[in-house]
Amino acid sequence: MSLRKIKHIGLLIAYVMSIYIFIPDNVYAMHIMEGFLPFNWAAFWWIAMIPFVIAGVRSIKQTVTLYPNLKMLLGMAGAFAFVLSALKIPSVTGSCSHPTGVGLGAILFGPAAMTVLGMIVLIFQALLLAHGGITTLGANTFSMGIVGPFVTYGVYKGLKKLGAPQWLSIFMAASLGNLMTYVTTSIQLGLAFPAASGGVSAAILKFMGIFAVTQIPLAISEGLLTVMVFNILTVYSQRELQVLTAFTGKAITSIKRGVKA
């Protein structure tokens, strides 16, 4: 390649980059489109996802066999993720994105259970809506079904331990879980498509810079909606909540008194 050619390409890249920086309109959706991850990365995220899915199926089985009457609540947590990820909400940057809704279930049933439920939502959207994809299912599940719920769960536990009020712990947990989902997507895209100047870290930073602004109001919305549902649950489903391990922090087998529905 001649020097001139390199210069031209460099200019083009600088141009594209400046567009991204100055026009925040180019925002990346949480779900990576079908075929838009190189084969190796798609395979890598698929493999990374599998152990979490197995753990999730086990965790759900355990909950359902020990406490059959929590099935409805589990279904509700899945349905919550289903609604929220269908709602594309406008953000201050002038583009739309959507909440994930996995925080509620992660706090109730533990993060692994939400890996499975999040994956089901993603499969529905990939097959029927051409939103996300089957080849990128691994990467998308990793961000929305693994990183999001695990961050939510960790933040919730941490804040509770510090003695924060219930509503604040839930709000922060769900909001940060949502935000981290998008950060993960930026990392995944940055790893697969490094910038010509600055490489992977520059690409990740750029993707994140765009994300942060768009996603913050949506993350707050998700936190608020999760608190709303919890407000209702604490009044009407007190007994179910008492049984739930993730909620009370006790091991599921150590609580023997079941819920009489």
Partner: protein, 98 residues
């Protein structure tokens, strides 16, 4: 504070967060983000060709919005079914105790 009032205040904030951007970014397109994502990747790495196509795509924007509405309807249907169910159960338990 009563549950209803508390939740209505929170809901107010959520609505505000969704409506305000329409004023703040009046001239923006509010386009879907994923189409732009694919374009951006193509610009970053012009040699990249998507190696897999979706099995099926909604034939039009109308059909797509139908499916999104359906997804939201099924989801919220179940969420509110459960909330109504637990409210009813709670009320019955309460009157039993009384």
């Amino acid at each position: 504070m009563k549950l209803f009032t508390k939740n209505m205040i929170i809901l107010g904030f959520v609505v505000l967060l969704a409506v305000l951007p329409l004023y703040i970014a009046r001239d923006a397109e509010f386009g879907g983000a994923d189409g732009q994502a694919s374009e951006a990747i193509m610009e970053l790495n012009a040699d990249y060709t998507p190696w897999f196509e979706s099995f099926w795509e909604p034939p039009s924007g109308e059909i797509e919005s139908l499916l999104f509405a359906l997804q939201a309807a099924i989801g919220s249907g179940f969420v509110f079914y459960y909330l109504g169910y637990s409210k009813g159960k709670h009320a019955v338990n309460k009157s039993d105790q009384a």
